[in-house]
Symmetry: D2
Subunit: 405 residues, 4 copies
């Protein structure tokens, strides 16, 4: 929009990924590279494969790719499906659509259960689509747990129940890229067969690792797949040699970073991590609700129960206003990076990330910058959003005694 | 106060020193140590001695000690004074008192011009004390530019003028530890003979370097001094060999950090640095003024013109309340470190630092945490302080176009 | 082999990848993550795509994958070939075999031109295999420039000439993972259509980036390919949006590392980089030749002209001796990590890496540890290898005046 | 000597301080600054004061100055002596002379027991000087344990015994700046009253911390001292408040570095640390002995029992040759920094450091560069020095089983 002048002080990162990398993770990665067979590396690597299971809450297998979340998406497709297969994609927002788009590039057909981007796709509609699939052409349901474009988190157990009710054998594949490590996710208990994740959101690492967790049903599906693959191939990835597990050279420093972030998650306790995210998200919603009283903006997710704990999508109400100004201005003038509107919300929304290594004053800073940006851009807003956030958090802390943020 | 639980996210550092070390400075120091005669080091060192002059605004000489600000204080005493000498110390708060205390340990007598800690010491009273010193027993005036205990910045040119009017030959020694790099300071134009500084405040470096700038009059004073000294001695410190300049092994990594921080100051432009500090200080004052409407707290510095741009001292009004709770609670529960009350303000005040590598959202975060702490501790306050700060900064940015924060 | 005790001092990394990451690259990566659309990142990224062309010496396009070298291999296959196609693979050692193995997993047939692992595959034999392919079933020749298992560098222009002589339309795909940035490679001038590389060898970055350079003929091949793909797909990777170029979230910190390593390569000058590698390699060969006089070991590559400048494979002559002891002992007891024998050289060879950010005393250290290991393990050797290396380098420096190592 | 071209690979640091800072120490310091009263800092600081006692092997008190070793020297003088006092300084080389020079600047008289720089000062001569001091004018003996200029380590217990035999009440002050953490030093058992140290040698930290350990007799001496002082003053330094212990702002990041280095020393085990230094020193001596056969150079320390384990001084025999060329050339052309000749050895010697975080291949690298420099400069030498070093270390490892280097 304009030339960006030199700025001082720390940039705030409130995009919904990449998120802030904690000092401990950064330093864990700021080490010398080493022999790929160095026991120091092998021990770290081995333990990451093990401990990721506790994060996914599965007894299945975890696989770590040098890749981003899209790579992990492709891995799920490449291993469980064959060209010509069909999958069902409940529309949750831009990311369900992107996964479907990728799936079609892999020569797999997609059927979509339409959604309106302000509510989760109805489990009933999903169940109906499966019930209608008498011949069981649908091989998998591709479900995005939290779609960061809409900031809606869907109800995975309800979808699983709908699948069960339809007595449909399709695999349930869940994308938790934007939810893992921010909100409870129980792969085994909830009946997911494949779960996809990534390093740069709730796991507080730099981008660069794609994650997949699979159960026995998913492993069996590999045998039936005719998709050409090696890099993504689970059979070789599940071998014992680390050179095989990474299909070549391991992402050594990234693994030391992941090791540190897992330690941090376990030290804090996953339940505390989830509570921290929930309270900070609620505080953000309180702030937006105050600002919204003037009619210029509105939370995208209608039902509070469906709102993501990691990111909040806010609609701008003036149809003639280009909402992309908000994130550009906030980043270039206020030192806080937000997310913009994606897909059909492009130019109509902005997004505040509050996931990963984040605490209360970091959110006050980000919300303060948003309030200043609303003022700066002349968007109608009621002042006092940050005050509402502060009071919500102060109330929680009073009631909870100590907290982790 | 209580056991501190594990916390997540970035700790906010709003003490008035040490301040936040920018990533660039940290990385400049995260390098391999090297031969003390390595040209890479010698060039960095040489240029620091030169460029510090632009920060002090002097044509005199700069000296860099491996020490803290107290060390630089002692250097000023050890070089310009002799046991049995007398100095005049205008009371500005806890730090003028500490400097006087150190001076007496050096066997130099101190006369104090009393102050009330809420206004700068009167230049008239200083002038009178000098006029009363007919025999010119007073060898130096020891003036603290910004006393971080009271957060009052005094008027150096006015003190110089009072000295001139009294036609008194005393040296003017100014402590700019808490002001250098945050607000304009013009050593030569203002007539200071010795200026003392340190690395860990406006200069954005870790603690570990004490700085002194001296003019010819100060250099001449060394010849008359009988104080035993070598480590602090300016004569050897002004030699050309770097081994002499540091009186032994140089603080190599700290110098690379200082080099980077000087680059950052010059890139931003000192005037922009000062404006940034001023606006963030004003925003802090606006926030406190809102909170103060309920009568529970009050700004210590009565006259807005005398308020430090780097730190704000806030009095708690309830005489039965232990104000040290504020900084402890804010740090342990809200993730924001504040300063406590010092000297006679111990238990009666807390302090918010806003100096060095700081920007608007960092201040919203800190102020939000303070507001939450007031709520948490039940101190009467009017909500909306952060809102006032946001509006002040947004107005500035609207009027200024681009800013550096 | 045995429990590894605590060790002090710097571990030497003389595996042929990952190589030592220079301090500058490490610090370039030790920065805060940021918005994916932050101009600071986009500028770094854009310039990497451009500047990699100078490293590959091509006017074609460069693609950066979050992946390792195996991922880049798969990208070459997935874009230019279709299931059922056939390729020709000259056997250079373990890595040609691995690439072939991956190719077959992608449902592409491999014909191998056999090699003996101590000489490069004969260009004549390659030409003959192509001439025999009257129907042009072979769609591509997959050539490993430097096979780190054998430490032999093959003559790419000679292979290209053999293809031309056979008037065969196959694509020439060259793996430069272990050679790029260590020895001259001229993609366009030598007639390669696809070149594969990776970050963790001559480019001095941590593992995590796979690189591909392609010309127009390769781009055209994508249109004909029926291979299911998206993550690897060149059509989307060549779009202008960086989100497309990385197929999702960019490997932000790794890109800042690559940016720094490219700056370092250009500052030193590629020709100087190549000379440095050559002299250090020759010094290594001199050392081995001295040790080998006792008959216990031998250089694998018979012809000095074919020896890699980045890694040296050394055979142990006693058929009953398990050569894997050498690298284990050298790493665990001597603090220097070597490579082991791979494929059919497993247990029969060890490898000394000398690529990337390496200089003369680093090699003296590594060679000294190898000499000590030969002594420790009782392998017959003639002492004085390091002396020979020192003399070779001293002679070069005397003749060259200044050098870059 | 000439313009230094760009160099690649890691610079070797073989000066006798500063020494290599291990990755762990560097990362311990690459952390955010924090509130001076943050429990995380206070705990680290407290434990450093405690654990330093185990390094000095004393039950006395330890004091940590923001200063270098010269600062710690001055602290010893300023606390235990008064202007007009007299001390005895056994001449060990340049550093005994420098300490004496500083002492005289502090208005204390020095009597020197002359030494020839190639043998330790004779304990008998020291005893005689004390016996001659019938009136006990000598208040302290200032003894340098290892003088890095001569690389001679003196026999502290023998000096103590000479003092005892003379029944002289002088304090024994020992400078262990260059020996602490490299060789056994037992402050209490050996009867030292004051010990001086620094961070940047055996303690593997960057320069910036001066250390002093004192016993009750030294504490008592403070009461009698009339030296003006505050920064160095032990009475205030021994208070409980950390703000007092550091006389102002603490060197926060340096303390975290020291904490890590102490952990590393204790993990390795002090006895192992000493053995490691001894073997590497012996290997260096072996190398020099081989080179010296050609008559161009010679070890300075005649008696092997007196040779420092941390640094080796080597004389050049040609009186017309300027030995400073060796260290300049080795640093600028061979990437290895050595020490030059100091004091009367200026231009006549060079020094190889082997202290701190150092291991065998690091020494092979340094020695290889020295051998290449001898060749480059045309200094007569017998090749094979590195070979001798390798063999010495290999023999040790064979006999010792596992070692820590």
């Amino acid at each position: 929009m304009f030339e960006v002048p030199l700025k001082r002080g720390r940039k705030f990162l409130n995009t919904p990924g990449p998120t802030n990398v904690p000092e401990r993770v950064r330093n864990a990665m700021a080490r010398a590279t080493m022999d790929l067979s160095d026991p120091e590396f092998l021990n770290a690597s081995e333990s990451c494969f093990d401990d990721l299971k506790s994060v996914f809450k599965t007894e299945g297998e975890c696989i770590i790719y040098i890749a981003n979340g899209h790579g992990a998406w492709e891995a799920a497709i490449a291993n469980c499906l064959s060209p010509g297969d069909t999958v069902l994609v409940p529309e949750t927002g831009n990311f369900s659509n992107s996964w479907a788009d990728m799936t079609e590039s892999m020569q797999v057909n997609c059927r979509t259960v339409m959604g309106d981007w302000r509510e989760p796709t109805s489990p009933e509609a999903i169940g109906q689509a499966l019930a209608d699939d008498k011949n069981h052409e649908i091989k998998a349901v591709l479900l995005v747990h939290t779609d960061t474009a809409t900031s809606i988190t869907c109800d995975v157990p309800a979808v699983r129940e709908a699948m069960n009710r339809a007595k449909h054998p399709a695999l349930l594949m869940v994308d938790t890229i934007a939810s893992l490590g921010t909100v409870d996710y129980q792969m085994d208990a909830w009946g997911a067969d494949v779960t996809v994740g990534a390093s740069q959101k709730g796991l507080m690492c730099p981008p660069g690792l794609g994650l997949v967790a699979i159960n026995d049903k998913a492993k069996a599906a590999v045998k039936a797949s005719t998709m050409p693959r090696r890099y993504w191939d689970w059979d070789t990835r599940l071998m014992t040699q680390h050179y095989r597990r990474y299909c070549g050279t391991a992402p050594q420093l990234a693994i030391f970073g992941l090791r540190e972030s897992l330690d941090m998650l376990f030290e804090e306790g996953l339940e505390n991590v989830f509570t921290r995210h929930r309270i900070l998200a609620e505080a953000t919603h309180k702030a937006v609700d105050v600002w919204a009283q003037a009619g210029g903006i509105e939370l995208n997710a209608r039902d509070p129960k469906t709102r993501s704990v990691g990111v909040t999508t806010i609609l701008t109400m003036d149809p003639d206003f280009d909402a992309s100004q908000v994130s550009v201005m906030c980043r270039d003038e206020m030192m806080v990076a937000l997310g913009g509107g994606l897909g059909k919300l492009n130019g109509k929304a902005f997004r505040i990330g509050h996931m990963g290594d984040v605490n209360a004053p970091m959110m006050y800073g980000a919300l303060g910058a948003v309030e200043a940006t609303l003022s700066y851009l002349g968007i109608p807003y009621t002042p006092g959003g940050v005050t509402a956030a502060i009071e919500h958090i102060a109330e929680f802390k009073k009631s909870a005694g100590h907290s982790t943020f």
